[in-house]
């Protein structure tokens, strides 16, 4: 199969993720959409790796996964703490950092 199709898929996933982040209020869903965008990026890296016939992109994808895993740990912890203190997981409720 033509590897360019993977790029189309990645673009589609990224767009879905981006819209999710912008549209949804629930922090967990937003978080999942961010993961979707990260994985879309991973997909492009692997696809380019395949197209160019070297392993650089695949190695990069592993790094991204590790960083994403670490981010999930921290991010979920923040969301849990937020929920405990405010009884809500809506990102719009946490809008105190403004002038």
């Amino acid at each position: 199969m033509d590897p360019v199709n993977y790029l189309y898929l990645a673009a589609l996933l990224f767009t879905i993720g981006a819209f999710g982040v912008l549209i949804r209020r629930n922090a967990i869903v937003v978080f999942m959409c961010i993961e979707l965008m990260l994985n879309a990026a991973n997909l492009t890296l692997v696809a380019f790796s395949r197209m160019h016939g070297n392993l650089d992109g695949q190695i990069m994808a592993f790094f991204v996964m590790v960083v994403a895993a670490a981010e999930v740990v921290v991010g979920l912890a923040i969301i849990v703490m937020l929920y405990r203190s405010r009884h809500s997981a809506s990102v719009d409720d946490a809008s105190l950092m403004k002038l």
């Binding site: 981006a18 982040v21 912008l22 209020r25 937003v30 990102v91 719009d92 946490a94 809008s95 105190l96 950092m97 403004k98 002038l99």
Partner: protein, 633 residues
């Protein structure tokens, strides 16, 4: 001998420093110290004088270089003194008359609790004036010039608790500032033209320096402006009358030995520049002629004895400025009149002070009268000063004023005739107003009035310390002119410094002398006719239009008020308007613009994470689009 020159200045300067910084414990001895140091200065001056006379005519100038003041590449300012015949004349006058005035002040200021401070200021005045006449360059002269301005401010406003005195001091200072600006500009011009401001290089060879006529005229006019300020010449004359608010010894010092003589000194010293700039000289002569009539007319109308004498000073200085403007035919006579004037004007002022002392500080001559019996010594010394100033034949004013009148005629052409007639007219008016002062004060009926507390005055002769200086000055008033005239001693003495040409007046000398005596008699006669025969009203009659104008100093203050003060106010107001609306407007407008802009931008910071995310995505999308676009191009 050179090393003594510094001592001339150092003695009074030390006195000023000790008296002003010494504090209360000098209250009882301060005046003696001040007088002694002035006397030291005079003794040193006398020693230097006899030493100078002992040397050859060409070898008389002494020079003392103390230290380099501002040595910057081309710009070399030195603290250096030069004592030539011209400086010597001034030094003797300043220290001599100055010492006598110190002595007089011991008695006059006896009951003033700030007497120590007064003597400190007097010493400062002497020191500044000595720096002025001893400096060997214009910059150091400027230092003395400013010092004189400061000291006069302090002394005129000495009784600062009186509002009028404080105002008069401020007025003198401000008006002098205008003249000082002139001197500063003249020095700038000299430096750009000659590359230096030392007397030698600037004045020795003005012709060969290649300076343009316009530049020299400019320097001359600026020097004249400076002289007008210090010497109270039209148009900067307005401070002199008000300066009478100071204690009387101060008036004597300002009018005789220091301050007002500075302008004449400056013009005579810079004679080389004026000789090369005939246009500037013409202006000098015009200023002198106008002032000599102006002062004389004002002097006729004043009932305040000191203000009448102040008008007379203005007029006499006008004579000197006029003579100095005549060039080499006049310089020596200007200085000669200055010295004789120093004697008789100091004597007259000290006499006036003595009269006021005896009359409960009353200054209105209409409330004097008949004082000759009560104050005989004052009467005689004042009378001799009076005869000297009106130019009574044989007394010193006669010789010096007559010489100026001859020189004025000798100017030649129509100018010579005009100047000659003006100086003769001035002599007549001088005789008139001085006779008026004399008659109102010492002759006629007693018109004494009780003072504010209801005490009738009990006129009495003043204490010895006041009388002795008056007697010494009276001797000077009588004999100085004759001594100077004898064998042209004074002219020959100054000739190496100021040059001298014999003027050739269109009338023969005896005719001019005769005319001088005739106008003198006319003036005296007119005054006697008006004030000697009839009883004098205690309250001044309304008088003619001219009299009323002259009482208001020929409307000088009204003119200054309308033209300068109002004009200045309007200028200030328009500048404030421009500043507020345009300058501040631009600054404030810029600030308001950015303030408003940031207020709008602030709304973007709403705290919603998703709205930040939109801007991030939007920004990223724009970047990607831009990158693609660039690649496509």
């Amino acid at each position: 001998m050179e090393s003594l020159i510094g001592l001339l200045v150092a003695a009074p300067l030390l006195g000023a420093a000790v008296l002003l910084c010494g504090g209360q414990r000098l209250n009882r001895t301060g005046h003696l110290l001040g007088t002694a140091l002035a006397a030291v200065s005079f003794v040193v001056a006398a020693v230097l004088f006899f030493d100078m006379v002992g040397r050859d005519t060409d070898d008389r100038a002494l020079h003392q270089h103390l230290w380099s003041w501002v040595p910057v590449n081309e710009f070399q300012a030195d603290i250096a003194f030069q004592l030539d015949q011209l400086s010597m004349t001034f030094v003797l006058l300043i220290t001599g008359v100055g010492t006598l005035i110190h002595l007089y002040s011991i008695g006059y200021m006896e009951h003033d609790e700030r007497r120590r401070r007064f003597f400190g200021y007097l010493n400062l005045f002497l020191a500044s004036m000595l720096v002025l006449v001893l400096a060997d360059n214009f910059l150091l002269l400027y230092v003395g010039w400013e010092g004189v301005g400061l000291a006069s401010y302090l002394l005129i406003g000495f009784w600062q608790h009186k509002k009028s005195a404080a105002t008069a001091a401020k007025k003198a200072f401000v008006v002098n500032r205008v003249g000082d600006a002139g001197l500063a500009i003249a020095i700038f011009l000299m430096f750009t033209t000659f590359g230096t401001f030392a007397f030698g290089p600037v004045l020795d060879d003005v012709e060969a320096s290649g300076a343009s006529q316009a530049t020299l005229t400019g320097i001359g006019l600026m020097l004249l402006l400076a002289a007008c300020g210090k010497s109270a010449q039209v148009p900067l004359q307005s401070w002199l009358g008000d300066a009478m608010e100071g204690p009387t010894p101060v008036s004597a010092l300002i009018h005789a030995a220091t301050m007002v003589t500075a302008g004449v000194y400056l013009i005579t010293r810079s004679g080389a520049i004026f000789n090369a700039a005939p246009d500037a000289q013409t202006v000098v002569v015009v200023v002198g002629a106008v002032t000599l009539l102006f002062g004389a007319i004002v002097g006729c109308a004043k009932d305040d004895i000191k203000k009448a004498l102040a008008g007379s000073t203005m007029s006499q200085i006008g004579y000197m400025i006029l003579a100095a403007g005549l060039g080499p035919i006049g310089y020596a006579f200007a200085i000669m009149h200055l010295v004789t004037h120093g004697f008789f004007k100091a004597g007259l002022f000290l006499g006036a002070g003595s009269v006021m002392h005896g009359m409960n500080e009353e200054v209105d001559m209409r409330k004097y009268g008949g004082l000759r019996k009560y104050m005989p010594v004052t009467f005689i010394t004042f009378g001799l000063g009076y005869l000297a100033i009106i130019g009574f034949p044989g007394l010193s004013g006669f010789f010096s004023k007559d010489a100026i009148i001859e020189a004025a005629f000798a100017k030649g052409g129509t100018q010579g005739w005009i100047l000659g007639v003006v100086t003769l007219l001035g002599a007549a008016i001088t005789a008139y107003y001085m006779t008026r002062v004399m008659l109102l004060t010492f002759f006629g009926e007693k018109r004494w009035q009780p003072d504010a507390e209801g005490n009738m005055p009990h006129p009495h002769e003043s204490p010895k310390t006041m009388v002795i200086p008056m007697v010494v000055l009276a001797f000077g008033s009588v004999f100085a002119g004759g001594l100077f005239k004898w064998g042209d001693a004074f002219v020959n003495w100054l000739e190496p410094v100021t040059q001298f040409e014999h003027g050739h007046p269109p009338l023969s000398v005896p005719v001019i002398t005769g005319l001088t005596v005739v106008v003198l008699l006319i003036g005296v006669g007119a005054a006697w006719f008006q004030y000697g025969r009839a009883a004098i009203p205690v309250v001044a009659p309304r008088g003619s239009l001219l009299t009323r104008a002259a009482r208001r100093d020929l409307l000088q203050d009204d003119f200054n008020h309308v033209v300068l003060v109002r004009g200045g106010e309007h200028l200030t107001r328009s500048l404030v308007y421009v500043d507020n609306k345009i300058v501040d407007g631009a600054v404030n407008g810029t600030a308001a613009f950015y303030g408003g802009l940031s207020g709008r931008l602030r709304r973007a910071q709403n705290g919603f994470a998703r709205s930040y995310a939109v801007s991030m995505f939007g920004g990223a999308a724009l970047l990607v689009a831009a990158t693609l676009l660039m690649r496509a191009v």
